[in-house]
Symmetry: C2
Subunit: 447 residues, 2 copies
Amino acid sequence: MTEETLLFLEKKDFKGLREYLSAFNPADIAILLSEIPEESLTVVFRLLPKELAAETFVEMDSDEQEFLLKAFSDKEIKEVMDELYIDDTVDIIEEMPANVVRRILANTDSEMRAQINEILNYPKDSAGSIMTTEFVDLQKDMTVAAAFEKIRRVGVDKETIYTCYVIDKNRHLLGLISVKTLLLTSMKSIIGDIMETNVISVSTMQDKEEVGENFTKYGFLALPVVDNENRLVGIVTIDDAIDVIQEENTEDIEKMAAITPTDKTYMKTGILETWFKRIPWLLLLMISATFTGRIITSFENALAANIALSAFIPMLMDTGGNAGSQASVSIIRGLALNEIEFRDIFKIWGKELVVALLCGLVLGAANFGKIMLLGETGGDVATAAVVCLTLVVTIVIAKFVGCTLPLLAKRIGFDPAVMASPFITTIVDALSLLVYFNIATAMLSNV
Amino acid sequence: MTEETLLFLEKKDFKGLREYLSAFNPADIAILLSEIPEESLTVVFRLLPKELAAETFVEMDSDEQEFLLKAFSDKEIKEVMDELYIDDTVDIIEEMPANVVRRILANTDSEMRAQINEILNYPKDSAGSIMTTEFVDLQKDMTVAAAFEKIRRVGVDKETIYTCYVIDKNRHLLGLISVKTLLLTSMKSIIGDIMETNVISVSTMQDKEEVGENFTKYGFLALPVVDNENRLVGIVTIDDAIDVIQEENTEDIEKMAAITPTDKTYMKTGILETWFKRIPWLLLLMISATFTGRIITSFENALAANIALSAFIPMLMDTGGNAGSQASVSIIRGLALNEIEFRDIFKIWGKELVVALLCGLVLGAANFGKIMLLGETGGDVATAAVVCLTLVVTIVIAKFVGCTLPLLAKRIGFDPAVMASPFITTIVDALSLLVYFNIATAMLSNV
């Protein structure tokens, strides 16, 4: 697609390029625009039919949006902004420098400006900040025919028309009705008689994570957002909910890898910011690992007496860390998807204990065989036994710590995702070495 | 909600309970049914109004579905099945034992049975296996009025009516049209003139992961599924796409933690299955860690000569592992969201190198200060310098390995998600110890 576009540009066949691009989806054109040289960006964008241009603009990266907005005349800004849904406008404004924002706001009418400001005022990550104020509202004494008339009149500017919201004079949310129901009912029916009254809504200040959870759980196409007096102020549509779901997943994954989450993609995050998101955790975990070092120091004599023992330290630490991460990550994910609750803790302990013993026995046996086969302890059965026994105990401890910490974190209101590999590994390392040296001291005569 | 239900049951106030439950969403009633004693399950389920009952049935866990199906009469099975969308029926059938499946199929009509069998025949994880065959199709010479008439006639059984598909006599997909467009156009318009002809579709055999990606990228409500002659055979709706997206995320997260992914939730996975999903990776990684042990053994003399060195092994290994995971997980997630491509490798190397040096310098300096402050090397500056220099080099290596392996995996068609913490840690452990002992041997006179 990029190649063809560059060819059209080279031949200065703008009419042909316009026709060629019209056959593509806005998301694909946005990718194309990120791949052509910046000096052609404005030319190509201006070739697009008005509606396609606006739809493409929404899909573009903020760097390229900013580049275009700076190149645009006021008239062009107005043309693009008029075509956008209000929540998309707000998303764009949030990424732009102040002078660009001023030009955007100067080219929107006062009603739109008021709505933009309303959404901008909600805290980051709240339901209010991701909603749109453009929805279809109906009154309960309307007929279906009147409802269709209203949808036809106002529908073109609404992000979705498929769920319509029934409100009273004070904008209190009374119910909702889908276009499917409207289409399958007689034109004379009264909205109040056929609307769905058990409406699930979120409040403007609720975390957007809960918005995503509602969509996953109930399979809605849109979710109403109300203020604390149950007045309807906006809706969140499913396309935005999917973005939220993916962002929450990315956040959880980053936390699991000891990275402070960021809104930006990897490629768009600057070097200093990337560093800043990673260094605090590395520092914290490095200092925690000091305790593990202390344990080794305090068993210096044991290590000096039986030098073979130290060769198994990495294997014990790694296996403990891996076994612990498996348990913790399973629990973290289950908690995120609401499949696990704190009260399941006894069932979880039971399961992890048996799984740990099974894993421990297999790994212990495999390891014993390997040690004897390769003569890693110089044929010393007792040392091999110490290593394998430690392995079993380490895995049990690791699985226990791994499954318990995320549950406890959730219980006390912390984010369970932080209790993943790095944290668990640090704790399990220290515990496994303590076990190792204690077992060695107890069982080996030369230590 | 559970408490109230149990109270109604105790008072045998079934009418009251029916009314009480009617106000809830099916997803919430399904959760309730999983929390009440099994002997009340059939009673409560039978109280639900027919449509709500079917909607609730879809949301229930397969264990409870099986329990109910076994308690149902043939008439009841038929009643529930008649209300279900075909893709939901298929999902249920896939989880049921053979005798229950036979009873379900015996109570569906032959056309439905044929469609069920068609979907069941597609490979697991293919687009065909998650599609529904119930959609609205239109002809291109229809008027909008005729289209509405058809929607009104057939719409009630269709999972979505909001996107209608235009096909020719041989069922080739010609275009699509949304109900929004239909509602906002004159009743006399001809479908062929107003339909969208640039249709993005997937083929029946494509991986369902790509289905999820299409929804994330384009923001569709439904996606058409075609056979290899572009004949429309089904559609995937967005609610099922969200499930796919969440499953793919769970799979990636499990792979990152060295767990073989499973379709089941943590609580529903048996002990032996849980063990079986975890043990191969633990075994593989344990054996890989042997090499790390070998490195320690081969530098036995160095360790014996300067016993302080061994105290820093856990810290070096952990920090290297953490630094590597941060890089690998960032890249894996970027690849999964299509934000990163292989050709970005040079930019990524550049960024990770600078970030690694910045992290290394801060951690090295902090560590040096800590060692001297706590006298961990007994005031020996040279050993402290060796540890800190190793730390810097380890972090650079870790970030390099961490960002490169997922990219290479993707390049050669492997799943990048496997190249996360456990794998990276094992490799980085070995490399960091090699660096450590080599630097120590070169810089310290007593080693």
